[in-house]
Subunit: 197 residues, 2 copies
DNA sequence: GTTGCAAACCTAGGACCCTTAGGTTTAACC
DNA sequence: GGTTAAACCTAAGGGTCCTAGGTTTGCAAC
């Protein structure tokens, strides 16, 4: 019988495809093995266990998402960059719900493996770069980055759980949210640190 | 042997406690049963299956969170209301990570059961009420509500997954995010609907 | 108090999954 | 061709979910 020619990466990709198709919690060793035409025990040569596999999906997703954002924002600045960044983020989450869900799990990722992944570091650079035009300085810059990431992630997460009732299209609210965030970045409130609250 | 006197509600509460202690994905029929001093098969008299139980945890959490927010915002207005609302949200997520995580699962909740839960409806009322002072009209009001919910949820979700590196305390960023959102609500950008984009 | 009954709880068991241990086959290299 | 490391397998133990069907319990009505 011809050998399947597996590798940790191919197993991860199969698992990621499965996650997008049937949901992350339906990603099981047995199911991934069946998709690859292999017995489940054979996967343990390439992947430590199910938790490790989930972590690998998360890292793959982070890398892919970062890449999409980098492509989308290349050459943009100001509000164009903000919109491109945000739309790339949301599109990735829509297109790959299972992969995206994997990024939401509390971290249990092998640190050694994570160190090799370029995604997270690059994502930070991209985000800070996108905000360069708004003229913020630390620590406001970090606060603004966190606010943006929170809003982007929160929006797609709520969308995914069906938390937006149907009155108004999420797409409309999304566009308006980006308008609002742009305005906010242009009028970032001055810090009152040190003052009595 | 004395009967345990279970009910769907008591099973749900035991499961919710377990979720907070060991994580939502560790909440298993067998484990809940052990905690209640009962065989796992016995739980099926009160709860349809594991998915149903998860849905019940989510509804419980939604109700509890809404209640905390209602208590916290009672008598507040303007920025005070915003801050009280947001802090109550975040504190609930911190204090009950497992319950909170349950609210993030894609909905598969029994509609009949969900209809009985007062949480979601009340939460919407509270959120709109909190924004009353900012003088927004529909559809901006809905967009603003969605933006706030996205940011609140996104922030605590990213916090929970350890996505904020340790450079700056999340608490600082949170306070600044609330400042920023308050400013934003006071200067909500005018709609340009109908204009060419 | 006795009887009846509905619900609570149990045992038994099948199907699936995760993971380890150890054997066999493949492919590549000397 | 022979050696070797890795890929892949079978076998098996233990855990989980859930159903089917039997007991027991506690209440309520006679």
């Amino acid at each position: 019988m011809a050998r399947a020619g597996l590798t940790a990466e191919r197993v991860t990709i199969a698992a990621a495809e499965l996650a997008d198709e049937v949901g992350l919690d339906q990603v099981t060793m047995a199911r991934v093995a069946r998709r690859l035409g292999v017995k489940d025990a054979s996967l343990y040569t390439h992947v430590r266990n199910l938790e490790d596999l989930r972590g690998r999906i998360a890292l793959l997703a982070a890398d892919e998402k970062t890449l999409r954002i980098a492509e989308a924002t290349a050459g943009c600045a100001g509000k164009d960059a903000l919109v491109a960044f945000a739309n790339a983020w949301r599109e990735y989450a829509h297109r790959h719900p299972g992969r995206y869900a994997a990024t939401q799990t509390p971290i249990q990722i092998d640190p050694e493996l994570a160190a090799q992944a370029p995604g997270p570091r690059r994502a930070i650079e991209l985000t800070y770069g996108m905000l360069r035009g708004y003229g913020l300085a630390e620590p406001d810059l970090t606060d603004a980055v966190r606010l943006l990431r929170s809003t982007f992630h929160g929006f797609v997460a709520l969308e995914a759980t069906g938390s937006f009732a149907h009155k108004r299209s999420p797409q409309h609210s999304w566009v308006r949210a980006l308008d609002a965030l742009h305005t906010l970045l242009e009028h970032w409130p001055p810090s009152r640190e040190g003052e009595p609250s």
